[in-house]
């Protein structure tokens, strides 16, 4: 039971060179896998490939295999994929349907598309809103939310399909510090409480340090460093791969570089 990429390599339609791969990757239920890397290193491509959206929805050519719970993603139809693996992008704006009057109905959009009975739709909407922590927004107009709120509503909307996996492409990049904390908290809660496996692309390594179990650093479409989050985020190669290490890691490194002791008191003060 996992999302499994085996020697996956993907090329966009109309492009001569592959944007991703070869890459092997495993996302297990209840685990959070973080992805970082320089811009244009294939992070977004990894999201659309691992979720099965590429090539199913946007075309292109996939070599190797992407299997979700043992099923070849290429054989699944979009609505079947949606119930296995939710996908969330950077801009809340492009993800909301813009056809609903309240957040409640926005979150209900997905379950309604599945033709579920109203009672089940209602149940799923409340569940999605609650896990993300935005029940209080249910009656609001989706067009009048702040960036952070919009992103949380988009997250709840995807969750309402009860996917076993969630894939998020830079969910906090447009958000202010408070919005970033809200989304990071919500993701931690989703992983812990829904048992979903999460793949999250995130520039802010401080967020990854908080929520990720494993981290993969991409470089020109292939994993350059991967492993346990704490190890990868402390890896000295991060900077040259275009990734800023978490603040605590950077601080420790600079202190040591200054010929000073990394004392227990310092470690405690930066924890």
């Amino acid at each position: 039971m996992a999302i499994e990429l085996v020697s996956a390599r993907y090329r966009y339609a109309g492009s001569a060179s592959p944007a991703l791969g070869p890459i092997d990757l495993r996302v297990e239920p209840g685990r959070v896998v973080g992805v970082a890397g320089a811009n244009e290193s294939g992070k977004t491509t990894l999201c659309v490939v691992a979720s099965g959206v590429a090539p199913a929805v946007i075309g292109g050519r996939l070599d190797g295999s992407v299997r979700i719970d043992g099923v070849d993603a290429a054989t699944l139809r979009p609505h079947e994929l949606a119930q296995l693996c939710g996908l969330l992008f950077q801009h809340a704006n492009t993800q909301l349907s813009h056809t609903t009057a309240t957040v409640f109905e926005e979150v209900a959009f997905g379950p309604c598309n599945l033709g579920l009975p109203v009672s089940e739709v209602v149940e799923r909407v409340w569940w999605g809103l609650r896990v993300v922590g935005v029940e209080a927004l249910a009656s609001r107009d989706p067009a009048r939310l702040s960036g952070g709120q919009g992103q949380l509503v988009a997250l709840a909307s995807v969750l309402a399909l009860r996917p076993k996996y969630l894939i998020l492409d830079e969910p906090t990049s447009e958000l202010d510090p408070a919005g970033t904390v809200q989304v990071a908290d919500a993701l931690a809660r989703v992983a812990a409480e829904s048992g979903a496996g999460i793949l999250v692309v995130e520039h802010k390594t401080d967020v990854l340090a908080r929520i990720a179990d494993e981290v993969v650093i991409l470089d020109r479409g292939v994993p350059a460093v991967s492993g346990r989050a704490t190890d990868v985020l402390a890896d000295p190669r991060l900077a040259e791969l275009g990734v800023e290490p978490p603040a605590a890691v950077r601080l420790e490194r600079e202190v040591r570089a200054g010929g000073l002791d990394w004392s227990a008191a310092l470690a405690k003060a930066t924890a």
Binding site: T180, A248, L266
Partner: protein, 287 residues
């Protein structure tokens, strides 16, 4: 760019001070975005504005080139009241780089895009080409001079939009969220742009959520909440322990080195280098 010295650039024109006098602004729907803001920015200052979305930061900077006019109060550039000045004229003095590049990129070629501003200011021919080349070089996009902006990734589109404002060589540079969507290399580019502008004596005002960028690149930090300025001072004081309650009321966290420095009793250390220096001083003093 300044270091190369190979390209002769026209010097920045005289840099005016900026003054907001009790400026209030309400949108037509009645939302009060600025509530009696008074502040003065001296020529050549490096100022960061922080605060949550909706706290009035963007509304404030839009007053600098007349895109918004105060509902009450005055805005002065130098000693000139600009409440009635034309935007097109103010654009030559205040360069405003917006957050979302896709709300401005229109040309089929990067060089045309970057040349748009200086052309509007009346430049033609070789001086125009020099401006375009220098601006592209400053953001590291020299190789993309002939690219179609929409073939570039988001982070490069954003740097291109920044170049298009740099090319106007305005005495005052205003950047709205310049580091969002940038990786470590992109952030380094933006930092270099700020440093270069500062080196030429220009005023830089940046809105940012990136506290490290703010603490390390700016000499003054203004914290806004609900249309008011709640903190205003050097990073050492704004991120200092005494200001934390106010910061946290604004949903901002002080940078980690500031927190560590305070916990260790080392005083105000908003940046890693300040903390390392304080640690070294403490270790030296202890021996």
């Amino acid at each position: 760019m300044t270091a190369s010295g190979s390209r002769r650039l026209d010097p920045a024109p005289a840099v005016p001070s900026i003054e907001f006098e009790a400026v209030s602004f309400a949108y037509p729907d009645g939302t009060v975005a600025l509530d009696g803001v008074s502040l003065r920015v001296e020529p050549g200052e490096l100022v960061a504005i922080v605060g949550q979305n909706g706290s009035g930061k963007s509304t404030l900077v839009r007053h600098l080139d007349g895109l918004l006019r105060p509902t009450s109060g005055r805005v002065l550039l130098g000693d000139r009241d600009i409440r009635r000045a034309h935007v097109a004229e103010l654009a030559g003095r205040v360069g405003l780089a917006f957050q979302n590049p896709d709300r401005q990129l229109f040309a089929g070629r990067a060089s045309t895009e970057v040349g748009f501003g200086p052309r509007n200011l009346g430049l033609r021919g070789a001086p125009l080409e020099d401006r375009v080349a220098a601006a592209l070089e400053a953001v590291g996009l020299s190789a993309d001079v002939a690219s179609n902006p929409y073939d570039l990734g988001y982070s490069r589109r954003k740097l291109l939009a920044l170049a298009s404002v740099l090319a106007m060589r305005t005495p005052i540079l205003v950047l709205d969220e310049p580091t969002t969507g940038q990786d470590a290399r992109g952030v380094a580019r933006v930092r270099a742009v700020v440093a270069a502008a500062a080196g030429e004596g220009r005023t830089v005002v940046a809105i940012s959520h990136d506290m490290r960028f703010v603490a390390e690149c700016f000499r003054r930090v203004i914290v806004m909440r609900a249309g008011r300025v709640v903190l205003d001072g050097a990073p050492e004081s704004v991120f200092g322990e005494a200001a934390w309650p106010e910061l946290r009321a604004t949903y901002l966290e002080p940078p980690l080195p500031a927190v560590a420095g305070a916990r260790l009793g080392l005083g105000a250390t908003p940046t890693v280098s300040a903390l390392v220096a304080a640690l070294a001083a403490a270790a030296g003093g202890g021996r």
